[in-house]
Symmetry: C2
Subunit: 174 residues, 2 copies
DNA sequence: GTCTATATATCGATAGAC
DNA sequence: GTCTATCGATATATAGAC
């Protein structure tokens, strides 16, 4: 990967996350990355190819992130890490996740971040802790995650950090 | 409002909710509504004017909807209705809310559905019920609302109805 | 109020030189 | 690998007739 190629990817992610995939022109990307527009098409074929390259890179980083949760064994820790997940995401991978959530509304299939592994891990954790409806409890956590991520990534002003202690308390986590 | 004008509004909401505001051309709207493209601009000035007309109509309907919650006095009922809100929305006003949530990612200010009244109502309810951190509890409900709405409006397959009994149980609602 | 025709800008994408 | 120049399609928007 050349340096200009990398620059295109970085700038495109920034713009896509801010203005949306459709709201960003290849011309804008080229200008901000200080390369010719033609170069984008040489490297990535077309605009969608550029998007896929961005998503692929982001997913690789995301996988490592999620592995830390799924590989955890202590059920308490699993729930704790899960609850902290959206805050971590908003801190370190804000643009990527913003793009993912934006795309969900129109290209759900392309961004299918399978929730399977997370769900399985959660259900198992709640089972071990003796909860009566582990599937529903797991689903509720996913709802929280989506809600928190949604608010953290769109509304800039919201202060949600205070929710973490409350949630941990509700799930009896030290 | 003429019949064609109304037809444009209905069709545009459908298309905007499905393909996104930017992903929908005025030509598409005109064709599906079986009117000339020029008519859209005569009536609404420009594409953004069309969007605003749609949002205005939708908000009027939404206000009536939310009034039912805010005007409730029994704190238990308030929480119950709040929990049921996203399911009602997904049933009767799916397209409008889908559009609202989509736009949030790029035009947050234009869709600023003030959460103030809902928050105040919730905080008061939790206070009355003796919760220790009414503000955080209210915020958590908002998170839940956003999470549920997000999942209901994007993922078609998810069955989230089962969450309602679980949540009512958690909040000690009959 | 409505339609047809058209103007104008911008988009994604390609060709060819270096 | 990269740039310049350009094409064809499509987007929003306007003008003028009815």
């Amino acid at each position: 990967m050349t340096e200009k190629q990398a620059r295109i990817l970085i700038v495109a992610l920034q713009l896509f996350a801010k203005e949306g995939y459709r709201g960003t022109s290849t011309r804008q990307v080229a200008q901000k990355a200080e390369v010719s527009e033609g170069l984008i098409f040489r490297h990535f074929g077309n605009k969608e190819g550029l998007l896929h390259a961005i998503l692929k890179e982001g997913e690789e980083r995301a996988q490592k992130f999620m592995a830390k949760i799924v590989l955890e064994t202590d059920p308490q820790k699993i729930i704790e890490k899960m609850l902290e997940f959206p805050f971590e995401v908003a801190k370190y991978e804000k643009e990527y996740w913003k793009l993912i959530y934006m795309l969900k509304w129109q290209m759900a299939e392309k961004t299918a971040h399978s929730k399977g592994p997370l769900m399985r891990t959660l259900i198992h954790a709640f089972s071990e802790l003796g909860y009566e409806q582990p599937e529903q409890e797991a689903l509720l956590i996913l709802v929280y995650l989506d809600g928190i991520a949604h608010l953290l990534l769109t509304d800039e002003e919201h202060d949600l950090e205070g929710l973490l202690p409350l949630l941990k308390q509700k799930y009896n986590i030290a």
